[in-house]
Amino acid sequence: MKRLGEALTLAGMAGAGLTLWLGLTWAPSVAIEAFESPDAQRIFYWHVPSAWAAMLSFLFLFIGSTMWFFKRQQWAWRLHVASSEAGLATGLMCVLSGTIWGAAEWGIPWDWTDVRLNTFAMLTLLSLFLVLGRRSQPDGIETRDTFSTFGMYGFLLVPITYFATRIWQIRHPGPVVGTSEGSLNSDMGLVLLAGAISFTILIVGHIISGMRLADLELRLEDLASKYEEVI
């Protein structure tokens, strides 16, 4: 499992690097008159895949939280731990790139009235709360149940975030793939697909590595308590 996680992470990073290169050199430019900042539009080739990876992480977080809460499966708790960290990293990447693109395209980095921006930020903050909260609390059934509950109910924000631009088109652009209103040409779509596949491999590799890490932490705690008993 150690090698699998590391191999997938490295393969995902290589794919993300290829996506970046294709996005900068091969993908066509957007129509200059349609954008305030056509150059900054290329942020899109990592911004959207990182958002996709974050959503996948929140899905894994939901599965891990639910399976821990109702079935008390140890693997599920490790999945909760790994996917909350993955959700935080990819969520921050998405928010960071989005604010920079917003500053270039809209003239402001954030719009507090936009539902998509704010629900996604809440999801990222939820994963920050789970990561920091877990590190500051002693491990135990009650702690795990509390954080799992947040992981389960927090998932409600995922469909709201996904459908937000379809229901309330405030500032964030609407969907450009999987819809008849999409404005993506085929080369752009290909680079975006490469990004989505790469970030999926990357996130799966990271979650496998993260689950192993959580397992090592539990083993270390167990050994440390045995060591104290022996002494």
Binding site: A16, A40, I43, M93, L96, I100, A104, H206, L220, L223
Partner: protein, 48 residues
């Protein structure tokens, strides 16, 4: 600022975030492995 500066800033930020995250996971994993190995050795010696 020009669009290219925004683009470079965004990509540098995302690459840094990705690199730090990956580095943290790998180093934490190696550090935990060596601590577990040391504790197992100590426990093994204690039982002998």
């Amino acid at each position: 600022m020009s669009g290219q500066i925004y683009l470079a800033t965004a990509y540098l930020g995302m690459i840094s975030a990705l690199a730090i995250w990956t580095w943290t996971v790998l180093t934490r994993s190696h550090s935990l492995e060596s601590r577990i190995e040391a504790l197992e050795k100590s426990l093994g010696n204690g039982e002998e």
